[in-house]
């Protein structure tokens, strides 16, 4: 093409590449040296989290972030822990697994966080776990996520307080069978986690009552139009339906079912136990049964009052709700673990402190116990039901690992 610009372009190229090399050297010079305890200084402990802060699942991420921040502020206002205040670096993963891996790398290499606390997303965590735990050896404490295989066997640097999704599904399946339903439909997202939930639900129901028959329907994450599915469900005339969706799809399908006058009991899991579910879906979810990780956010106890005060200060537009209370509790556990460290604060001592935590009661979650062989803090769930437009406790707590 043009042959006369060569000298100029050549210069530009050399200049650019030299500049590139120089620039990256300058960028990287400081970071090339690894610190013994990244994220911890004399005055600060820096923790990180990936959450969906945009997109459809932002309805989870934004309240979760608010709860975490509230817990951190409470601790900081009381003087911090061991003379250090907590800083939270949160980034938006849009609930996308690949983005989560990239964010994890950035938080670890660019921001040098001490640990991940209460990040969100089961597929997201599954994608990034290998890198975070095995390659970078950074702890993940109490994610808002959970799969059974993460705890069997326990993984180094990984601790959770959330009953895995499959275990919840087992409880729900047993419950549906106990309630006498025989013809069941389980609807689920096509993601692996939700598919497993549906399977566990079916197996647990059949274990309880071999006469139970379960049919499966699935749809993509992000579906909004449930008209055809509702029509299909109506034509099959089940006794009850179990939903393994996120809140968005649950609400949409519930409304559509009500529209089509399909009045059957709905069972779902803890991820839907949020007050906003009732705000959005109204009468469509009246009678819905589920299991909850935590106490109601309206409870009048010192711990929950403390939460409500802290939340109002950090995020006045957030109404007290299960999600922010959840992450508040998860963060409290982490803060307590740091407090119980004897000696220097390192990732190793953090992990040791977690391993030694017995029966710590946040007043929010069931009391948690960790040990070297048990990285799952609790297996207890509370059955709940929406009655009179509110989530109400139903019966005693159940142990998800036992046949209750």
């Amino acid at each position: 093409m043009e042959t006369n610009l060569k000298p100029l372009t050549q210069f530009f190229m050399k200049f650019t590449s030299a500049g590139l090399v120089a620039g990256t050297l300058a960028l990287g010079a400081g970071n090339a040296v690894a610190q013994p305890s990244p994220g911890v200084t004399d005055t600060e402990i820096k923790i990180g989290a990936y959450l969906p802060l945009s997109g459809p699942i932002a309805s989870y991420g934004i309240p979760l972030l608010a709860g975490m921040q509230a817990a951190i502020n409470t601790a900081n206002e009381a003087g911090g822990v061991k003379g250090r205040k907590f800083t939270l670096v949160a980034e938006d993963n849009k609930f996308n697994p690949q983005a989560t891996v990239a964010i994890a790398r950035k938080l670890i290499t660019r921001d040098e966080i001490f640990a991940f606390v209460a990040p969100m997303g089961t597929p997201s965590t599954a994608a990034a776990m290998d890198y975070i735990l095995n390659e970078a050896k950074v702890p993940i404490i109490n994610p808002y996520a959970g799969m059974a295989e993460w705890y069997n066997p326990p993984r180094d640097f990984f601790y959770g307080a959330q009953v895995p999704l499959e275990s919840q599904a087992k409880v729900i399946g047993r419950w549906a069978a106990k309630d006498g339903h025989k013809k069941l439909i389980a609807v689920h997202l096509t993601l692996v986690t939700n598919e497993r939930q549906a399977n566990e639900f079916a197996q647990a129901a059949k274990r309880m009552n071999p006469d139970v028959a379960v049919e499966f329907l699935s749809t993509k994450l992000g579906s909004t139009d449930f008209g055809p599915m509702a029509i299909e469900i109506a034509s099959k005339k089940p006794d009850a339906i179990a939903m393994f969706f996120t809140q968005n799809e649950t609400v949409a399908l519930a409304k559509e079912l009500r529209l089509q006058n399909v009045r059957i009991p709905i069972y779902t899991y803890a991820g839907i136990v949020i007050n906003s579910t009732i705000d959005i879906a109204g009468a469509s979810v009246e009678g819905m049964k589920a299991v909850s990780y935590i106490v109601p956010p309206s409870l009048d106890t010192p711990a929950v009052r403390e939460y409500r005060t802290a939340l109002a200060k950090v995020a006045p537009n957030e109404k007290p709700d299960y999600l922010s209370l959840n992450s508040y509790g998860y963060m409290k556990i982490f803060i307590e673990a740091v407090r119980r460290i004897n000696g220097p604060i390192t990732r190793q001592t953090l992990v040791q402190s977690m391993d030694n935590m017995r029966n710590y009661d946040t007043g929010i979650l069931p009391s948690v116990t960790y040990s070297p062989k048990q990285h799952m803090g609790t297996t207890s769930l509370q059955r709940v039901q929406i009655t009179g437009g509110k989530w109400n406790i139903l019966g005693d707590a159940v142990d998800s690992e036992k046949d209750w």
């Binding site: 802060l53 459809p56 993509k220 909004t224 008209g227 055809p228 959005i280």
Partner: protein, 291 residues
């Protein structure tokens, strides 16, 4: 038979939204040769503003009119500031498309800045539902279909029975000749973009009540509208409308009888097939030249 009639009716009702958007797309394309990718986002932004006004006390029905006017004005501004300066060079059709993609990004940024990233609920104009052919349809959705039909009828009347509407069709056929007989291309463009964007606002208004109000409100519907547009031919208004309804029904049938998972797949596959086999559309003129 079973619930087939129900599925079809439901599809026609959903399809009215796609038909509206499709009509908006074609009106704008025929008058200014621009495929406006931001048409859905224009409607969405208008509905966001309307939503805030409604929360502040504006009656919902008035909100619909406000949304139409807001979107229309945004469309006019888009045409004047972004499209008209591009001129008439060789690749301007594609460049115009790309610039509307850029506009879409800007609108998203505006929505995030103004209203954050969370979805919000949007009120229905008419609560309750009716029972048709054995399925229940929300009155709001039925109203949406009726208003959509009325809007499309009004547009059809405008384009065929009024002098200016005919002038606009002439401009679409042959801009040079139209200019020579005194038709003001600028006015034609302005009206076309107002009307087209207004259609999108109506679609977004009812979609928001149906699902929830967020920045990605119209994306799914827009794809289906485009499928309808290609099915009917990018230059045929009637074709776009019919195409939109056909896609609505196809979508619902796929959702009911194949799998809810495959609805998007089928819609995109339809677009690809139509573009490959008969790019001028089933109802468009069988043109010899490259479309």
């Amino acid at each position: 038979m079973g619930d087939f009639p129900a599925v079809v009716i439901s599809g026609i009702v959903s399809g009215s939204t796609y038909a509206l958007l499709a009509l908006g797309i074609v009106i704008i394309f025929r008058s200014t040769d621009t495929v406006n990718f931001a048409i859905g986002d224009t409607g969405t932004l208008a509905v966001f503003v309307t939503g805030s006004l409604i929360a502040a006390g504006l009656p919902i029905a008035a909100g619909l009119l406000v949304a139409i006017v807001l979107a229309g004005l945004m469309g006019v501004a888009t045409e004047r500031l972004l499209i008209r300066p591009l001129g008439h060079s060789r690749n301007v059709l594609f460049i115009a498309l790309v610039i509307t993609i850029g506009l879409g990004l800007l609108i998203h940024a505006g929505i995030f800045l103004g209203w954050g990233t969370r979805s919000r609920s949007f009120p229905v104009l008419v609560p309750g539902s009716a029972n048709i052919f054995g399925i229940a349809l929300a009155w709001n959705k039925i109203l949406a279909a009726v208003i959509a039909a009325a809007a499309m009828g009004a547009v059809a009347w405008f384009f065929t029975k009024t002098a200016f509407g005919t002038a606009m069709r002439a401009t679409a056929e042959d801009p040079g000749a139209a200019r020579m007989i005194g038709i003001d291309a600028g006015r034609v463009a302005t009206i076309a973009w107002f009307v087209g964007s207004g259609m999108a606002a109506i679609a977004a208004f009812f979609l928001a009540a149906d699902t929830s109000l967020n920045a990605s409100l119209t994306i799914s519907a827009l794809f289906r509208a485009f499928a309808g547009v290609f099915l009917g031919g990018l230059t045929s208004m009637a074709g776009a409308v019919i195409g939109g309804f056909v896609i609505g029904v196809l979508d619902n049938i796929a959702g009911r009888y194949i799998s809810a998972n495959y609805r998007d797949t089928i819609v995109f596959a339809v677009i690809v097939l139509v573009l490959f086999i008969r790019p001028a559309g089933v109802l468009g003129a069988g043109r010899k030249e490259r479309v």
